[in-house]
């Protein structure tokens, strides 16, 4: 080892040693990341949690104008069977009035059925408006009591700190009155 470190072998030896240092250090870093990743990834949703990812809901008992809450992946799903007047009201809103512009049409598969994840996009509280007697907010939709976000009859954010509209989950109509969420 004294040979390579001696001044007579000068630059060449040092460059080679530097390269070996870098290579060894780089491999060490890659190895560390490879060893840590399983630990990190183990904290992601496990297979059994993911397996609960779809739910079927029978819409038949829901009456016109009624709002119903079901559970999907631990979160409430708001189902609102909207009347013609409500739908027309939501569609009459100009897009420039919306902080997160989205047409009512884009948020539903069938205009009568509004289906959304009932979790405020601000900090995750459950907005009020599903039970009769709940405050509906200034736009007749939902109102989050935690920090005062108002959602309209299409679940779009209108006022308050929430940045986004209530999220529409992936769902499909398996029958005329039955949906599968997830």
């Amino acid at each position: 080892m004294t040979d390579t470190a001696s001044p007579t072998h000068g630059d060449e030896g040092e460059t080679r040693r530097d390269f070996l240092y870098l290579l060894a250090g780089g491999m060490g870093a890659v190895g560390t990341v490879a060893a840590v990743w399983p630990l990190i990834d183990s904290m992601n949703p496990a297979a059994d949690v993911l397996a609960l990812a779809s739910t079927e809901v029978d819409l038949d008992p829901i009456e016109l104008g009624q709002r119903v809450t079901v559970t999907w992946r631990g979160n409430p799903i708001f189902i609102d069977r909207r009347t013609k007047a409500v739908i027309d009201g939501a569609r009459a809103v100009p897009l420039e009035d919306l902080p997160d512009p989205e047409t009512d049409d884009a948020r539903v598969q069938q205009a009568e059925w509004l289906i959304m994840i009932g979790v405020c996009t601000h900090l995750g509280c459950i907005p009020k408006g599903q039970k009769s007697g709940d405050p509906l907010g200034e736009y007749g939709g939902w109102f989050c009591p935690c920090h005062g976000s108002h959602y309209d009859t299409a679940g779009r954010i209108r006022k308050g700190p929430a940045p986004k509209n209530l999220v529409v989950p992936p769902y499909s109509f398996v029958e005329d009155t039955k949906i599968q969420i997830g």
């Binding site: 990190i40 904290m43 992601n44 949703p45 496990a46 949690v49 809450t69 559970t71 992946r73 631990g74 979160n75 409430p76 979790v119 601000h122 900090l123 995750g124 509280c125 459950i126 989050c144 009591p145 935690c146 920090h147 005062g148 700190p161 940045p163």
Partner: protein, 426 residues
């Protein structure tokens, strides 16, 4: 080989092989010279240590009875309260111990702010302390989730949701933190695991904190360095006794709350089991988080591409992280506010501002609280970023005494002080 003197053969035998006795003597004994003028404000470090020990001991025994599962957690805590021998006492001590831990740590921090304990050469000591505060807050937050009451659940949901404000990867981070799509059983389990782990991390960091402390010793009410033996006294027996006395006073206050008003600092709704489908009307964190909560909620407007939510989160973390750079914001060479007539006033205004923010945090985020919170938040950051740097230049400090012993001994210490180290800068 060791300067440790003893006639006890057993201690001698051990000391020769493992010099633990001389180590302790240098750490907290007769060989650790400490400024002779420390006031009772210097008791709160040892009180924080006591609080940490109380929390670890009661926590270990509570963990023997607790079940970390969403179906059983709430009931297992109620079982501790009703069926386990002295379970109610262990839990009330642990529950209120958290609050008292924060009380003594906050006093400890404000003591440092008033007497300039963060200044050179103790910057790193101070910064380690700030990290200890952060770890302590994470530990307290996760511990509060374990009883699985309504406030446990919704506090956890709101605070973990803060991370969704991070652009692009925020949503994925939140799902990773939860281990699912909502705060649920995987979340409860990992919080329990980490809540058990972090206090021992704290112990390690406290050791480093004390290690850094011993490099230059404690600051003192005059904020000038000890200049010789006439300025200091041995830690043992003088400060061991004083710390013990302080612990006695602390225990009187602590046990009074534990036994006579154990739920005074808690939220009644946390005695209702967590319901993921019903948000309580008014979510508030524990009192020791209220000022940060007020700062978080004070931002209701977007700035450029940054959402109000993200700015609120950034400001909330910044309100603590700013303490890390405090030694470089306050450039005044004088440490103690005793000799800083303007800083002394502004310190108390700052304390009042923190209390005001705490009050705002306990109230709903609507006018007039909202505006008061915004003013309070602005002042909080102005204190660090504008007032302190300006004050370093504009304030004219009063003259410092030549040594610690001089004002105490009315000039009696000057003769010896003259032969000691030369006078420090400023």
């Amino acid at each position: 080989m060791s300067d440790f003197q003893t006639t006890n053969p057993v201690i001698k035998w051990i000391e020769y092989r493992l010099p633990v006795f001389s180590f302790l003597d240098h750490a907290v004994g007769t060989k650790y010279p400490t400024a002779k003028n420390l006031s009772y404000w210097w008791n709160f470090g040892s009180l924080a240590g006591l609080a940490l020990v109380i929390m670890i001991v009661t926590g270990i025994f509570l963990a023997m009875q607790y079940t970390a599962h969403v179906d059983y957690a709430f009931d297992s805590v109620e079982r501790i309260m009703r069926d386990v021998n002295y379970g109610w006492m262990l839990r009330y001590i642990h529950m209120n111990g958290g609050s008292f831990f924060f009380i003594v740590v906050y006093i400890h921090i404000f003591r440092g702010l008033y007497y300039g304990s963060y200044k050179a050469p103790r910057e790193l000591l101070w910064m380690i302390g700030v990290v200890i505060l952060l770890v302590m807050m994470a530990t307290a937050f996760m511990g509060y989730v374990l009883p699985w009451g309504q406030m446990s659940f919704w506090g956890a949901k709101v605070i973990t949701n803060l991370f969704s404000a991070i652009p692009l990867i925020g949503e994925d981070i939140v799902i990773w933190l939860w281990g699912g799509f909502s705060v649920d059983n995987p979340t409860l389990n990992r919080f329990f695991s980490l809540h058990y782990l972090l206090p021992f991390v704290l112990v390690g960091m406290v050791v480093i904190h004390i290690w850094a402390l011993h490099q230059f010793g404690s600051n003192n009410p005059l904020g000038i360095e000890t200049k010789g033996p006439q300025d200091s006294i041995p830690f043992h027996p003088y400060y061991t006794v004083k710390d013990l006395f302080g612990m006695g006073v602390f225990m009187i206050a602590f046990t009074a709350v534990v036994f006579f008003m154990p739920n005074a600092m808690g939220e009644a709704i946390n005695y209702q089991e967590a319901d993921p489908l019903v948000t309580p009307a008014h979510i508030v964190p524990e009192w020791y988080f209220l000022p940060y909560y007020a700062i978080l909620r004070s931002v209701t407007f977007d700035i450029w591409f940054l959402s109000a939510k993200l700015i609120g989160v950034i400001l909330m973390f910044a309100s603590i992280l700013i303490l890390l750079v405090l030694p470089w914001l306050d450039r005044s060479p004088v440490r103690s506010s005793k000799f800083r007539p303007v800083h002394k006033q502004l310190f108390w205004i700052f304390v009042a501002d923190c209390i005001l923010l705490g009050w705002v945090g306990a109230n709903p985020a609507e006018p007039p609280y909202l505006y008061i919170g915004q003013a309070g938040t602005a002042y909080y950051f102005a204190h660090f970023l504008i007032i302190l740097p300006l004050l370093s230049v504009l304030e004219r400090p009063r003259p410092l005494p030549n040594s610690i012993s001089e004002p105490v001994l009315k000039g009696g210490g000057t003769a010896m002080g003259a032969t000691a180290k030369p006078m420090e800068k400023a």
